[in-house]
Amino acid sequence: MTVLGSGLGLALYILLSYLVGRLIATLLGFHVDALVRAGCPLIGAAAMGIELWIFGVVHVPWFVLWLVLPWLVAAVVTRRRTIAAVRDEVASIRPLLSGLGDLDPLTAGLVAFTVATLGFYLLNLLAQPLVGWDAIAMWLFKAKVFFDSGSVDLANLPPRPISATRHLDYPPLFSLMVATAWVLLSHVDDMVGKSIGFMFLISGVAAVSASLLPLLGTRLTAMFALLMVALPALQTSFVLPYYMGYADYAIAVFMLLSLAHLYRSVRLGRDLDSGLAFLFAALAALTKNEGLPFLLVIAVVFVFGAAWGRVKERETPSLLLVSVAAAGLLPVVAWQVYTRVHGFNSDVLSLPHPAWTIGLLTSRARTIASFFFHLMNRNDDYPWLAAGWIVATVLTVISRYRRLTLVWAALTAQGLTYGIALLTTPNEVTFELNTAADRLVLQLVPSLLLLLGLALRELPHSRTAERGVALEQAA
């Protein structure tokens, strides 16, 4: 298919994902603001992917008609709310457009650069051939298996050479999203399949902008949006698609959305944000196994919060919150059970590994520290990322908004998890650093940008901060 054709196919997939996600938000009675809208494409894409998963279990063919029919029926049955949602969407566009016209030249320049970079990435995704190692070996290969069989079933793959690993244990969501796009197009389209990461980029930029605009104003938010798009650390997903890894940016955006809603949840105490924070964490765990510890961290935060609310204020979690959490957790548990039943699971701790002596751990810690120290010499992001984390940490410590600490703690805990994984890996640590370090850092970068932005909000006596709090509460 031509670049234009694949572009139209991708646009169709992203638009349908947004509409389905928006419909779900409407059906659940969510108050839909800019941050919720930012996550709608991913909610819709995940919902359709899981829908196909269920279709495979109950032997419903993977045809585009069956894919969209349940959503059409739901929209018609709840047409009053659907029509109100459409009016709401149309009404939200005008302020956005008029806001663009009010930008000062510097901010307009930042926005223009960001948009131009987005366009450059999109062209690259649609024009460069599909050659990426993990895309070929894992993500799009599994999407082909799913699409061809009409089910999420990896048990019948032929015996593979011992030297070849496809990480069959990796969760299926990203591959299901690719397969969903192919079902929509009714055929395999490699360019569309390798380009769905663009949907995550749009959601990520929108989420950062929606979270920071009420707090920091237009110009600083525009800078964060530019960083979110143009950082060299993030370009590996869009400009150099032959590197190892393909779903790292996807899990990065899921974690970003989870933390954005977590922050709003602890600031405003809304079940909507609590539910979405947990849902996006569950989707991260359904994308890559690195999402499992993140989901655990978020779960601990909410269980503790629920217990605190019960003890102090005799509050119980709402039925909506429990339902959303259960709906997010169920596919995660289902996949983990599936991999264990079929022997795909990769429990790293049970694999043969060198004895974890103090000497070994110390040696590995030195190797890891040396590796990242040398990264600081590179003319790209690493020194800036380190400085950003340090500044965000100091601002969080001295901030009067103590609940920002939860976001900092969740992000830092995830980073520490990666460090522990590198320390205790059964593989050669140098190999892991050379092939995985960049990607692990990439997974944390969007959330680090969000944390830095949240930490930069002015002290509470300033007008900007007071206006930001008022905007949040009014929303």
Partner: protein, 148 residues
């Protein structure tokens, strides 16, 4: 401290524009729009596997097993993943041993021959379906079982 944070943000933004800007300015947009990007990325494969793949896919039966004979250096590399993806749903066995062609029961055999590699006569029970030659002198032979 907040001023320091804002200064970091501003400098970081400036640095990013300086690093990323040349990428945008040096891109050949016309070629990208045509789908023929300059300096198109190559798979981590030796020649001629990547270039010959579309023709191989078109020449082989749509289903069944395939024996892919590749240079020995490719056997434990990316070739297995590459060929199993593009030839899916066919089952692919990758080997560097030409003798496998005489013992396989696969309906299709593909031989990616470099210029200095030995020749392979058509295995018994098979017919030559296609023979593709590149400018570099690589050959790609596709044999299918007679009657397939």
């Amino acid at each position: 401290m907040r001023a320091l944070g804002v200064a970091l943000l501003v400098l970081w933004t400036l640095h990013t524009v300086v690093v990323t800007g040349p990428l945008l300015l040096s891109a050949h947009y016309a070629d990208l729009l045509r789908g023929t990007p300059q300096g198109a990325l190559r798979a981590p494969l030796g020649d001629p596997i990547q270039d010959a793949t579309p023709a191989v896919v078109a020449s082989l039966p749509a289903h069944g097993d395939v024996l892919a004979l590749v240079p020995a250096s490719e056997v434990d590399g990316f070739a297995y993943f590459w060929l199993t993806y593009w030839l899916y749903p066919r089952h692919v066995e990758v080997s560097g041993d030409l003798d496998a062609a005489s013992t396989t029961s696969a309906p299709g055999i593909v031989y990616f021959q470099r210029p200095d590699a030995p020749s392979l006569n058509t295995p018994a029970g098979y017919v030559l379906r296609s023979d593709t030659t590149t400018a570099g002198g690589d050959h790609t032979f596709v044999f299918v079982r007679a009657g397939a």
